[in-house]
């Protein structure tokens, strides 16, 4: 199997990116193992370096860390948080999150583009969390993003692909991995995103709030694999328009 997720030259076998912010930390390892995740996001603000319950202590070796800039309200704050993450040993990947709305936690696309540009120039591998807007996605690509991470629905909502049609546009038009992030509540929704051609799926709440987190992680892994296989296989013909005229519409042609 040579189908790998490639983000700026880094190869991953798994297309399941795990969020860690809502877990009991002692469960993170089991979830990573059962889900076979190779990339795990973490909020730098939770990194209690040298102290109690430091999330960095719970992530197994060999996993690629994807620190996020949670807490940033503008591009400058995101840049500062990303730098701090790199300083404490989180590597060069960064998931840009710029949010200035505490009610819905929707990303600020404009500031996200600015942060992406600044961080890409500093050599980060930038994966911006975004509201799925084609113009913004193009701007992010031009700004040096390594992937784009459009939201499926509001964070934590478990509502699935509310933005399905707009994510599909990004998949069709943007020449970067499109990683569906936020709002995926069920393995079936993750499967659907992958079937559509998403490069990977990120989820957190859906696993963390399950009563058996390790089993749910495995379910997501399998769903993501199934969706990926279906995408690669190419789905059979599904008629999108049901009307089939009883007499031919082109029968009037005379030669």
């Amino acid at each position: 199997m040579t189908d790998k997720l490639i983000i700026e030259g880094h190869e991953f076998n798994s297309r399941f990116i795990l969020g860690s912010g809502k877990f009991s930390l002692e469960l993170v390892k089991a979830v990573i193992e059962q889900g076979e995740a190779e990339m795990v996001t973490l909020a730098l603000r939770r990194a209690n370096v040298g102290g109690e319950e430091n999330i960095l202590d719970y992530i197994p070796e060999g996993i690629t860390l994807l620190p996020n800039t949670s807490g940033a309200r503008n591009a400058e704050e995101a840049v500062r948080i990303a730098r701090l993450a790199r300083e404490v040993g989180c590597g060069s990947f960064v998931k840009v999150e710029v949010i200035r709305d505490t009610r819905y936690l929707l990303p600020d696309n404009h500031e996200t583009v600015r942060a992406t540009e600044m961080l890409a120039k500093e050599g980060f591998i930038v994966m911006p969390y975004m509201y799925p807007d084609l113009n913004t996605a193009r701007d992010l690509a031009n700004a040096g993003a390594a992937a784009v991470m459009p939201l499926a629905s509001p964070i934590g909502s478990n509502k699935g692909l509310s933005t399905r049609d707009f994510i599909k546009i990004l998949i069709d038009e943007i020449d970067l991995p499109v990683i569906v992030d936020a709002g995926i509540g069920r393995p079936s929704q993750a499967c659907e995103a992958m079937e559509m051609g998403a490069a990977a799926v990120m989820c957190n709440t859906a696993v963390a709030t399950s009563s058996d987190v390790a089993l749910m992680a495995r379910a997501f892994k399998l769903a993501i694999q199934a969706g990926r296989d279906a995408y690669l296989a190419g789905p059979g013909r599904v008629l999108e328009y049901s009307a089939e005229a009883s007499s031919p519409l082109t029968g009037f042609l005379e030669d």
Partner: protein, 388 residues
């Protein structure tokens, strides 16, 4: 003190000289809605309608706070649990308060720090402050809340600023629960390292407010009401809101506090809003029939209603409550819990220099609270903030 003596007879709805006035729009809306809040008008079907919604309107919030919602506490709890888990996952944050001074020039009839009370007053020297902060940091905590009484001569803004600077060196999150300030003073304390400000209105009933805040700057209702807004204008990251439940009609006060938070978040969408739920316990041997009394059931109703109105807001549970209540409310509605608490001045390293503001009901240390949280399948969180 002469002018403070005079204040007893003073109009409490007007600002004093030197008090910064901000737009009264939020206060007017809150007082207007709270004034017309008639919780007796709601029936079970109104509560059911509210519980069927994803987001509550102010009227829905009125329903879930009403007596008609009492038979629905279990359903409210189930919905609240889902919301809390959705927004906070398994996380429960830990912190502790540090009282640095209990001098106070306010005469608030319900408060242990009342300037008329003959209690031992004290304030920490900078050396003592360091010792206290060091002792607290050694417990593993990374979040601290600095508290004072209101006395600009004994615990002025610069004194508090020095405490904040010292705290910020050892803690990732520094909050302040001090007297209301002007926005440029909040700018100063923000620069010193404080990012979160809690100010509790106690009661939103302006008549009652005047009756229980007899003198001192706290008597001025609008200056206190608008403190959160000035704090946000001063660059603070988050603000805490609360009513002292049981001081007046708790349903009306909780309704007003919820609306206060609601409109504040609407006007400042980036602000991190949190609630505290201090209550005056019903007197022992009181019959318990008074509908205004706040027993644990009523306290739970308020906390659940806050959660349903503002699913993303932090809710702090204090050591005023018993261990059993605290243990069960975390993860359900509360997202933050204090541990290793002393409510006298100092008391973490050295003997308390001043008397307590109130009695606590949960004296467990950080390790015990940590174990309790983990034992409930939740995640103790020591730091959830990075200062940038």
């Amino acid at each position: 003190m002469a002018d403070i003596e005079y204040m007893k007879y003073m109009e409490h709805m007007n600002y004093l000289d030197g008090m910064e006035a901000v737009s009264p729009d939020i206060m007017n809306r809150v007082l207007s809605l709270a004034g017309s809040y008639d919780y007796g008008k709601y029936a079970g079907k109104d509560v059911e309608r509210a519980l069927g919604k994803e987001l509550l309107t102010p009227d829905d919030y009125g329903a879930v706070l009403s007596p008609a919602a009492m038979p629905y506490l279990e359903e409210m709890a189930r919905k609240a649990l889902l919301e809390t888990r959705k927004h906070f996952g398994n996380s429960v944050c830990l912190f502790t308060p540090l009282y640095i001074s209990n001098y106070c020039e306010n005469e608030c009839v319900y408060c242990g720090f009342n300037c008329r009370n003959k209690i031992q007053r004290g304030r920490l020297s900078m050396e003592e402050m360091e010792e206290e902060l060091q002792a607290i940091a050694a417990t593993g905590l990374r979040e601290i809340l600095i508290l004072t009484g209101e006395a600009r001569n004994a615990s002025g803004v610069e004194y508090i600023g020095e405490a904040v600077k010292r705290a910020a060196r050892r803690f990732s999150t520094v909050g302040i629960e001090i007297y209301p300030l002007n926005s440029e003073e909040y700018v100063y304390l923000n620069k010193c390292g404080a990012d979160f400000v809690s100010v509790y209105q106690e009661t939103y009933n302006i008549d009652k407010y005047g009756q229980v805040h007899l003198r001192g700057p706290k008597r001025i209702f609008p200056y206190r009401f608008n403190a959160q807004e000035r704090a946000l204008l001063g660059g603070m990251r988050g603000v805490g809101i609360g009513a002292l439940l049981g001081l007046d009609d708790f349903r009306k006060d909780a309704f007003a506090a919820g609306m206060h938070a609601y409109f504040l978040q609407q006007k400042y969408p980036h602000a991190e809003i949190s609630f505290s739920v201090p209550r005056l316990r019903p007197y022992i041997n009181n019959s318990g029939n008074n509908p205004a009394e706040v027993h644990e059931r009523q306290l739970l109703q308020v906390m659940l209603a806050y959660r349903l109105l503002m699913p993303f807001a932090g809710i702090t549970i204090s050591t005023r409550e018993k261990p059993n209540f605290r243990d069960h409310i975390i993860g359900l509605a509360a997202t933050k819990i204090s541990a290793g608490v002393s409510v006298g001045v100092g008391g973490h390293k050295n003997r308390e220099k001043g008397d307590e503001q109130f009695e606590i009901s949960d004296s467990r240390g950080v390790g015990e609270i940590h174990e309790m949280i983990a034992g409930r399948g939740l995640q103790p969180v020591y730091t959830d903030y990075v200062r940038v």
